[in-house]
Amino acid sequence: MLNHLPILIIIFPLSIAFIILLFKKYIIALSTFSILFSLASLLKFAPSVYKGQIISYHLGGWPAPLGISLLIDSLSFFFALTVLLIGMMVIIYSIPDKKYNHNYYFLLLILLSSMVGTIFTADIFNMYILYDLVAIATYLLIAYYQHGVALKASFNYLLMSAVGLSLFLLGVGSLYAMSGTLHIASISEQLPEIFAHNPQIIIMSLVLVITSMGIKMAMVPLHGWLPDAHSLAPSPVSAILSGVVVKVGLYCLIRLIFGLFSTEKILVNIASHYILMVFGAITLLFGAMMALTQTDLKRMLAYSTINQIGLILIGLGFNIYSGFEGALFHVLNHALLKSALFFCAGIIIIKTGSKKIKELAGFGKKNPVVAFCFVILSLGIIGIPPMNGFVSKFLICLAAIEAGYSILALVIIFASLITAAYYFRVIQIFYSEPIQPNSNLPNIDVAENSLFWDKYFRLWPIYILTGFSLMLGILPSLGLSLIRPAVKILLLNIIK
């Protein structure tokens, strides 16, 4: 049974999700048990993955290029760990809310298991199908509250990401047309001689992959869906959307660019890294600028996600060791910090009954603990020394200087100043006197009475995530030791 674990990590939450729909009882117990099982069996691979081993599991018993095979190396292990960790926190956070019935937990479990499936697969068509399952689960989770606004946001997101996935399918088709197989490793072996024969189809499939994953990752020109989708979804859903679902698109981009396209064909390499850097810089600045002008708390956090994704893209674009290290470390940090921030935003919206930042005055006095956590987390996002955000931003700036693009280091610092501006604006309002007793607006999220054990299940994920971020900030070697083997995978192809 032990050597079948890679597939059980994906299939077990999937089957528990269906069992939940069937029996509609012990919902929370079953879902937490299934995610814990996946997390535990994933951690079982930690020692062998840390030593650099690559675990592959051939589905249906067929060898690699024929059937589909799963691949667990340090890169996919790292991303899967972030997915399951944040997923666990989201489930704990949404326990006290009675409005989340069996449908909600079903969608959440399907979302988590399909994200882990997308991360583990080594087959591009299978990645398309699993990514579609992630997308459908997100549309339904965004439209969970059935408010007109959420339906519009979900429909908008559906259209854009359906077009994005069709572009991805065109890329898969053109790659298959040239190489005859769908297995990432065997395509990348044939790439050099295909490139010699017909270079423009390789470049076009690279462009198709970057645009489709750009839509999913909200790179600037293709980010239109993110602010509505992330701000109108229920708080735990927007936490997992901003924290992790965006990262899966990033993972597919990394896996395809560094795993498939980055053979020793230098031209293809340099072109893709310039694209990443340029779009990363634009996304960074655009996200920061737009976040300044937001009046709605959750929309501001959504634009701040776009801002941080741009930073990660820049880190990847430098194509050097510390660049990758900083980018991957920032993936982990941003996942921890942003989902905790959305958790705090959820509590703030319930307690003050309004989403507008102006009406959040005096929240700091009413419950100082959540406000204090909000402050620490926003310090992390801005990148102030004690927090982990600082470590990854510092690494990326270091990589910028090392790679010779010191202008980009200035751009990153400038963007961090703007990030500081729009977060301190919120914090300043927290601790200011309420101008007029804020009227009890009809809050969208949930009525007060539907919460039970509010203290335990809502606040604990915030404490755990803040604790993790502080710990990673003070001793970054913990996180970096997790990331270094992953970075070796990325650099393997380039140095070769």
């Binding site: 290029p65 024929l66 399909s114 068509f125 339904l140 053109s174 295909i194």
Partner: protein
């Protein structure tokens, strides 16, 4: 006015994409994987219809995920349309 921008943009995209994705028309360049399916398909899976043998035996995992996708559509439609008129 907006429509002209879209038309011009799409014409440029069409020229770019057709110019690049036009492999010599016909099957993928190296045929050894396809020939494997054609020759060994019947012995490995016992099915005459090779398309069914591929999507049910070689890539059955795709079909499993895809039935879940269809199920999500059913859940989505019944869930969205069920909450009152």
């Amino acid at each position: 006015m907006k429509k002209y921008y879209y038309i011009v943009l799409l014409i440029i995209m069409t020229i770019l994409i057709i110019g690049s994705i036009s492999p010599e028309y016909g099957n993928p360049r190296n045929m050894d994987y396809i020939n494997y399916y054609l020759e060994h398909g019947v012995q490995d899976t016992g099915a005459i219809n090779l398309v069914a043998s591929i999507y049910l035996d070689y890539r059955a995992y795709d079909t499993l995920i895809e039935t879940v996708v269809l199920f999500m559509a059913v859940i989505g439609v019944t869930f969205i349309l069920s909450k009152g008129k």
